[in-house]
Amino acid sequence: MNPKRRSVMFSAVAAALGLGSVGTFVAAQPKEKVIKIAAKRFTFTPEKITLKKGQPVVFELRTLDVFMGFNLPDFNVRADIIPDKVARVRFVPDKTGTFTFLCDVFCGDGHEKMSGQITVVA
């Protein structure tokens, strides 16, 4: 069977089975949740965040003063937060529990206290 004929046949079978286009498939994914996080020496706002397992999340990170870092080690998620820029990191929580995020760019006396918690629920 030539490739063109095979492609036409596949499309016909897919239509018969009710399979939609790729665009339809993407739209069926859980909606992405956007959370804005502000970093300021030596706090994150908010510092407690609740997420749902399986729901994609985008963190939009800004610093209100100096160069900072955002690190969520349990999900291998991190970003530099550079003044006057928005850093975006996307991830899908794949496990439940409470996890620490922290500033991992040394920013002064109080850096060690600069952390927060993310709770992922089922």
Binding site: D74, F99, C103, F106, E112
Partner: protein
């Protein structure tokens, strides 16, 4: 009281998987240096000069006491190594230099004059090591002593807790000059491995550094940063953290935050101290002995 652990105990506990258990260090390569003089050095760490707060009501006296304790050792070390956080951080560049000046004056009272320094993030991360270099010289360097090659790796001058590609290339070039069985000691401030990343007890590109160290079978790492004695293996490489000299920190991952342990008036200076690292060349042993700042009881 002095705690001392020897190579045999180290090997036994290693065999038992004694990670987190106090054990001794060893530099097996010292066997190859037989015939040379035994020696020992002192590791002092995390003096945080300039810190003030409830975790240490004697913040201005502890370093003096530590200097006196080292000076009181019956046999003086060949050299003393300060593994970072000499001073407590400050945003004020003038105050930072004042603290470094005072620190240097205080440790100038050490009897041993071969004293070496490296920065911690409190010394160097806010100005990329500028003030540190003015007072103490390079932040990464090597030296040799009685057959042992010492490498000081800076993982703090970059506030992102990185060694950096340039320094990694320097490290690789230095190691190329060493034989695979050469006795090598590496000093860092932060752990090179991921001890507790949730507490920032890690080096972001530390795995790259460890990859460079791995071919050397007689290599040991001594570091600071975590203000407590701690021992961990990455492959055949032992990493030994030292106690601090201002306030102790909690055991790795034992609580949500790494807040200093409270001062206990009933046991002042508990958890603070320094260590002797003793190379017994003829016995091919490298022993760690822990000393308190102030003798208890």
């Amino acid at each position: 009281m002095v705690k001392e652990f020897n190579r045999r105990e180290f090997l036994r506990l290693s065999a038992l998987g004694g990670v987190g258990v106090v054990f001794a260090s060893a530099l097996p390569g010292m066997a190859g240096a037989a015939g040379q003089d035994d020696f020992y050095f002192v590791q002092m760490s995390d003096t945080h000069w300039g810190f003030q707060g409830p975790p240490n009501p004697d913040a201005k006296g502890t370093l003096h006491k530590a200097v006196a304790a080292v000076n009181a050792l019956e046999r003086q070390p060949d050299f003393i190594m300060f593994t970072g956080d000499l001073t407590h951080t400050t945003d004020n560049p003038v105050e930072r230099r004042k603290r470094m000046t005072e620190f240097k004056e205080i440790v100038g009272a050490l009897k041993v004059k071969d004293v070496r320094f490296m920065p911690g993030e409190h010394d160097a991360s806010l100005d990329n090591g500028k003030a540190f270099q003015e007072f103490f010289g390079p932040t990464h360097y090597t030296f040799d002593h009685k057959g042992v090659h010492f490498i000081v790796v800076d993982n703090v001058s970059d506030p992102r807790a990185m060694v950096g590609d340039e320094q990694l290339a320097w490290l690789a070039a230095d190691l190329k000059n060493q034989k695979p069985d050469a006795p090598i000691v590496v000093f860092t401030h932060r752990p090179l491995f991921d001890l507790v990343p949730q507490w920032d007890w890690a080096t972001r590109d530390g795995a790259k550094a460890i990859d460079l160290l791995m071919p050397y079978k007689n290599l040991t790492v001594f570091y600071g940063h975590i203000h407590q004695e701690h021992h961990q293996m990455t492959g055949h490489i032992a990493h030994h953290a030292a106690k601090g000299l201002m306030f102790p920190l909690p055991a790795p991952g034992s609580q949500p935050n790494r807040t200093p342990l409270p001062w206990n008036p009933a046991e002042p200076y508990k958890g603070l101290g320094f260590r002797n690292v003793d190379a017994e060349v003829n016995l091919a042993e490298f022993k760690i002995s822990e000393y308190p700042v102030v003798k208890q009881g």
